[in-house]
Symmetry: none
Subunit: 115 residues, 2 copies
DNA sequence: GCTTGACATAAGCACACACTTATATAAGCA
DNA sequence: TGCTTATATAAGTGTGTGCTTATGTCAAGC
């Protein structure tokens, strides 16, 4: 029942804080590699590698402009994750039982076997 | 702008297909470790380890019932990711140029740290 | 044509991760 | 009391990831 889109790649791409920051920057609009690299301490190759991960995940697309390769967000990848999460959100909003949640959190642990 | 929840942990937890399947199963309701392990070819310890990752990410909570430890979905973690993605979706759908406008357009209560 | 600027790719390394088997703990039951 | 069930933790191992430096490519400008 899967759409075939790569959720693995999308979620693991966004697992990295640098890549989430890149995506956050691209939410403001198109940007070149150099522009994307500027705020970070890492080198340009590192950013290029991050961008490759984001592109392979379908979250970002590339354009050619002279010697530059501006990136922007891709709708497909974002939509796929969003859809998966929407399913969970729907379940939670419908079934969430506040009291049970509280009780689970307050469960006595006298024997200290937790974590 | 931090929800207090760890997006790093949440996204990387869901990067693993086994863990996404576990979450998918929990969307149908509470389940024990053995029940969660059944559909997979991996061993029980592996599932316990996956569950620890999901719990640390705030996506799943535990309850004590005799010798069993049934898990269920936790609303907070899912909501945090959902919110982050909603911001991106909004940018893509509305074709905004600037993130600022999107943030200004979002519900005030969802923008900052509450409580 | 040669240099520069913008990027991609390659190789190597340290560390994180998913898995395994083996063992520990705790509750229920004969 | 011991045996079984449910789960957690430990230790070891192979694989993956993120970073680095070094180098390659390709378009622009002189």
């Amino acid at each position: 029942m899967d759409t075939g889109l790569n959720l693995d790649a999308a979620f693991s791409a966004l697992a990295d804080p640098t890549r989430r920051a890149i995506v956050g920057r691209l939410a403001k609009g198109e940007a070149t590699v150099m522009e994307l690299a500027a705020p970070f301490k890492v080198t340009q190759p590192a950013i290029s590698q991050h961008l490759k991960v984001l592109e392979d995940a379908g979250l970002v697309v590339r354009r050619v402009e002279g010697t530059k390769r501006p990136r922007r967000l891709a709708k497909a990848g974002i939509a796929a994750m969003d859809q998966w999460l929407a399913m969970l959100r729907k379940v939670l909003e419908k079934n969430y039982d506040r009291l049970d949640e509280v009780l689970a959190d307050m469960e006595p642990q006298k024997r200290g076997e937790r974590r």
